[in-house]
Amino acid sequence: MHGALPVTETMSPPPLLMARGLVKAYGSSRAVDGVDLDIPERAFTTFLGPSGCGKTTILRMIAGFEKPDGGSLVLDGRSLIDVPPERRPVNTVFQNYALFPHLTVFENVAFSLTLRRRSPDPAPRVMRALETVHMSEFGNRYPHQLSGGQQQRVAVARAMVAEPHLLLLDEPLSALDRKMRSHLQIELKDLQRRLGIAFVYVTHDQEEAFALSDVVVVMNRGRIVQRADPATLYARPANGFVADFIGSATLVAGTVMSGSAGQGMASMETALGIIQAPVVEGLSPGDPALLVLRPEHLALRREGPDRHFPAEWPGIVRHVVYQGSSYMIEAECAGILLRLSALMPPRIGESVAIGLDPARAFITRPGE
């Protein structure tokens, strides 16, 4: 069979799910406002955004619980628009698990396998699914006898036992405590690798999105703001919204002075002076822009200026917050509060110098 593949498949494979111009309106407000999106096979894709940004609505449209008001949704080359939820090769892990309270763990997981008359004995597949999520001991329990983490595992087993082409997860860890959450994040990522099916995950938690995802889709006000892998999102945010929403950053407003599009560098005038740094595509001289400074790109100099840094400013320490492994420091330089981390804490009110390696800063579009 090898070597007989059609030419198109040797090039980039077609996406598993394709959305074009997807719109969902509630009254006069548009929850989803013209979304174009490809979801690749075998990947872990996460929709990330503040509450009300439309990420859950997109998930519900893929599952079939909401009908789009416009646009197309194509899975495996087949339009989903008029397909009822029960006939989509898609399963969902719900936010509060939505386990059937009157059925045991075993019966919950077997639900999808026992709907058709003369379906084969579901027991082997149910047991395999329960083993996958380390719950095979709990088949006879009822949902109310399980902890949150255990219920979440059962919900995952129930959704994957039917072997969907796409598994949707709607903030499945948000009801759990921090420790259980990070534990289950690792399990989910591991499970997705082993199963090799596409996961589409919805969360408002940036750390969770980064821990899990191959691709993160950042949404705001019903639109996609940026779609990229976590490292790119962090280092090269498409605009001020992404820079602010993802990780900790100081955003300094200013104006683009000159740019060299080929090298992706520009110089920018800010209250901190003129800074030359990598720039987002599409900014021209004269455009308003934001300088994105991550805490780890700034360094604290307590004794005199240090010329290792091409850019350095005198400042006064305003806040010091102990964070366990380090201290978060806010220092005021030229009227701007710069946020950085340090291993040794300065005193509040101490005069310091803040150094920057501009090659690691980033110039991006403002707002939205």
């Binding site: 898609v90 399963n91 719900f94 009157h102 039917a162």
Partner: protein
């Protein structure tokens, strides 16, 4: 010592009233049922006589009447469940404002008195009544339908009509309490709407359904006016018999024995029903709060 007062203690006054108003008369009935009657003087004679109970247990008419009451109760309850569930589903799917309107309409029959309703039914179902006139005018029939009035059919129909709100209301509330996401989960896992209903909604609404069955059973089994005023020759019930025995016949001991027997049988039926309900997984899940 300070008495710990909880919300449960608020039920004490009502519990006391129930005790006085329910248990005391029952004790009286028990006492009366072993008395005898002096028919010449029209007075009850205190005694310890098995006479009334002997009559009660040996004459088949009493067992027959009680059996009939149970059958009317069960029959009406089952009919009301089938008729009421779709109504409850329909109300549950309305927009909130329409739900209020629907519940007012649903309860309208209860605002009119029972006697008014019964005479209204006579007008509707009589041989020159609404239904017969309409059917004859349409040419569907050529002579008035006789089974419409003063038959067991009439009794069943009107009992069903009278008790339907008591079936619809608890089922409706039960449906409202079912988490919508459970239905979505069932659909997501491949269940068509009918299957999602049968495997999720129906099991989780069994508490409402059984409250409805209990209420309708008790109302229909204990009803006297509807069978006696609309049931024609078939309209004799244990209730009308008790009424006669206490009143015109002045046989209080037998009336007491019949009352107690009817009560015991209805209680036994209710006990069996609740035992059955509590064996249902759906009902158990709801009662232990598993839907939250």
């Amino acid at each position: 010592m300070k008495l710990p007062l909880s919300r449960a203690h608020l039920a004490i006054p009502v519990a006391f009233l129930l005790f006085l108003g329910c248990l005391l008369p029952l004790i009286l009935l028990l006492v009366f049922s072993v008395f005898t009657v002096d028919m010449d003087a029209f007075v009850m004679v205190p005694a310890f006589s098995p006479q009334a109970w002997a009559q009660m247990l040996t004459k088949p008419v009493f067992a027959f009447l009680i059996g009939k009451a149970v059958m009317f109760g069960l029959g009406t309850a089952v009919l009301a469940a089938f008729a009421g569930y779709p109504v409850a589903l329909a109300i549950a799917s309305l927009a909130p404002a329409w739900k209020g309107i629907a519940s007012v309409i649903l309860l309208t029959p209860l605002y009119t008195g029972e006697i008014v309703r019964i005479y209204a039914w006579r007008i509707v179902l009589g041989s020159e009544g609404l239904v017969n006139t309409l059917l004859m005018w349409l040419g569907v029939i050529h002579a008035p339908l006789k089974f419409l009035l003063f038959t067991p059919f009439t009794t069943h129909l009107v009992l069903l009509y009278n008790t339907l709100p008591f079936m619809v209301l608890p089922i409706w509330l039960s449906i409202e309490l079912v988490d919508r996401r459970l239905i979505e989960a069932a659909r997501d896992l491949g269940a068509r709407p009918l299957h999602a209903f049968l495997r999720v909604t129906l099991p989780l609404t069994t508490p409402g359904l059984s409250v409805g069955l209990f209420a309708v059973f008790a109302l229909a089994a204990g009803d006297m006016l509807t069978p006696s005023l609309l049931g024609g020759p078939s309209g004799v019930t244990p209730m009308s018999m008790i009424d006669n025995l206490f009143g015109t016949a002045f046989d209080w001991p037998l009336a007491s024995a019949l009352s107690l027997s009817l009560l015991l049988v209805l209680l036994a039926c209710a006990t069996v029903m609740s035992w059955l309900v509590l064996r249902l997984k759906g009902a158990r899940a709801v009662f232990r709060g598993g839907m939250r």
